[in-house]
């Protein structure tokens, strides 16, 4: 019992990038335990997925040909059965929205300890050592699991994607799905509200976050954007508050942007936000907190009150 079972993530006919990152994390872990890396792909065009997942370091791909799209009841049953058949030491799942919709259920059903949103993994003797953040990224922690087996979800973007072509065996797994236990049905998908503004198309983004405090203060940001001939985007809380429409949101659940210049104003830089803007060419942060995570990826920063700096900056461009 030293193998690793990694579960691929896909949606609407495409494997998601985190699937290839899981292969790297899984291979690294299997090297430490001295076991094999098994990969499972459940639902959708599984043969096509299996071919893509056969990258360097993968020993076996197990396909579960049942249904088209993600369904947590099917996933939970299929992974539980794969676990019983393969007896891996560790189950690795993505810390994606879908991963969080089945991994905790799988862990509970198999009575496995669960550690989620992991950014690094190592094995120390008998213990699995997981690195994860707490308090919205203010600190990193290491957590040791002294269990024989565990389920782990990994954060996307933390491991490089596996490359090359492997020589994995591809096997169709004979799954026995109890249809009476399926109590959820996916009926469709919807894109968030559009509107005319396309923040992914802007060269310069002036992006606003929680630090703006009040809806009426947004005027300061629009004034600056107008003076700089820039487009206004935002972090999640501004959209949650209903102050800007969802198509302005940068981040994991919003849009991924790569402008020439990204000015983050009053944005702390939670990982979900950073995932949407880290590809920007030049990142400027205006924030009173010198320890805010946004400072880790900013190229230039002003550690001062946005209510003093923003009007002064607007004046510079008028």
């Amino acid at each position: 019992m030293s193998d690793v079972l990694a579960i691929a993530d896909h949606r609407r006919g495409e494997l998601r990038d985190v699937s290839y990152e899981l292969l790297t994390a899984g291979r690294d872990l299997a090297d430490e335990t001295g076991g094999d890396l098994h990969v499972a792909v459940v639902s959708g065009p599984v043969d096509e997925y299996a071919e893509k997942l056969d990258r360097e370091g993968v020993d076996a791909v197990h396909t579960v040909d049942y249904g088209e799209e993600f369904n947590h009841d099917v996933y939970t049953q299929a992974i539980t059965q794969l676990y019983d058949a393969l007896a891996p030491q560790y189950v690795l799942a993505p810390n994606s929205v879908n991963g969080l919709d089945y991994a905790p259920a799988v862990a509970n059903r198999l009575d496995l300890p669960l550690v989620t949103d992991v950014v690094d993994l190592a094995v120390d003797g008998d213990a699995l050592v997981a690195t994860r953040e707490m308090y919205g990224g203010k600190v990193e922690t290491t957590t040791e699991l002294a269990a024989d087996a565990a389920a782990v979800t990994i954060r996307s973007g933390e491991w490089p994607a596996a490359e090359g072509t492997g020589d994995a065996t591809v096997e169709a797994f004979d799954v026995d799905i109890d249809e009476d236990a399926i109590g959820s049905t996916v009926t469709g998908f919807e894109e968030v509200a559009g509107g005319d503004v396309d923040i992914t198309d802007a060269d310069v983004l002036v992006s606003v976050g929680r630090g703006i405090d009040e809806e009426e203060n947004l005027e300061l940001i629009f004034d600056l954007a107008e003076a700089m001939d820039a487009t206004v985007s935002s972090s999640r809380p501004i959209v949650d508050n209903g102050w800007l429409p969802p198509n302005r949101q940068v981040g994991q659940s919003g849009k991924v942007v790569t402008p020439d210049v990204y000015v983050a104003i009053g944005i702390s830089g939670a990982v979900q936000h950073v995932a949407g803007m880290k590809g920007s060419e030049t990142i400027v942060a205006i924030n009173t907190d010198p320890n805010a995570p946004i400072m880790d990826i900013a190229d230039y920063a002003i550690h001062d009150d946005l209510f003093d700096v923003v009007p002064a900056l607007t004046e510079e461009f008028q």
Partner: protein
């Protein structure tokens, strides 16, 4: 219909802080209602106002100090509250998903709700897993990361939107009873009214120990041990502009002009 809402008091950390061993030094910690739970409370109270729910009960795992946060939930409209705490819990560094599941499972078995609402995650340890784990433990349906919810009590179903990555939502029908993990932005959490705050003082808040719940002390030990805590290393060398707001704005404007920004 009865709704159970999980409510957590989370630790908040000041901008500048120090770490003491595997915890943040208490001097730099505050406490607040978990942001995600605020939306879950609001969703439950709205279902009550719409005549769909008859009773909204909150459950919190936390010490007596957490009662201030629990009263906030009561002031916003929950009818009564349960607080689970025990000396056995006070000694645990990091309560893991399995332990929380066992405690909440015992409460669900006592209360027998039709719907359980949790926040997607907590702002401190951020496992994001307890709701779905609980659903499996109590053998009900579930949906994670819900940002739109309609309940049809006659049909015994809920229609939810699950917020996937990249601005896509999944539309899902699920059978009730169910556990839903509620995402921020699903609604606009209310502020408690003065009347609500006054009423909250008189609403029942029951304390339950592990023995009351019939849970074994060993259940809360868990397999996870926090072994280190540190500030993450800064990966890039940020250039910081110093001076008054006028000076820093001037320096930044010069830089932005260099990068091609023009009025």
């Amino acid at each position: 219909m009865k709704i159970l809402v999980t409510v957590k008091e989370v630790a908040t950390v000041e901008d500048e802080f120090e770490i003491d061993g595997t915890a943040i030094d208490e001097r730099f910690l505050g406490a607040d209602l978990n942001e995600w739970d605020d939306y879950a409370i609001e969703a439950a109270v709205q279902l009550q106002e719409d005549g769909i729910a008859d009773e909204v009960v909150t459950v919190t795992i936390g010490p007596e100090d957490a009662e201030q946060t629990i009263r906030q939930a009561l002031a916003k409209g929950a009818d009564r509250a349960i607080r689970v705490w025990d000396d056995a819990l006070a000694d645990v560094d990091l309560l893991d998903v399995g332990a929380k599941t066992e405690l909440l499972q015992a409460v669900v078995e006592d209360e027998d709700p039709d719907l359980v609402l949790t926040g997607v995650q907590s702002g401190d340890d951020s496992f994001g897993a307890t709701g779905v784990s609980l659903a499996d433990a109590i053998d009900t349906q579930w949906a994670a990361v819900v940002n739109d919810l309609e309940v049809d009590p006659d049909a015994g179903t809920a229609s939810v939107h699950r917020e996937l990555e990249g601005g896509v939502e999944e539309l899902t029908e699920i059978d009730l009873p169910a556990v839903l993990t509620i995402q921020t932005g699903i609604n606009e959490p209310r502020y408690a009214s003065l009347r609500g705050i006054r009423q909250a003082q008189r609403k029942p808040l029951d304390h339950q120990t592990l023995a009351d719940l019939g849970v074994d002390d060993g259940a809360v030990d868990g397999d996870l041990e926090l072994t280190d805590m540190y500030e993450p290393e800064t990966e890039t060398d940020v250039t910081v502009f110093e001076g008054s707001a006028e000076e820093t704005a001037g320096d930044l404007a010069d830089l932005l002009r260099e990068k091609g920004v023009e009025a």
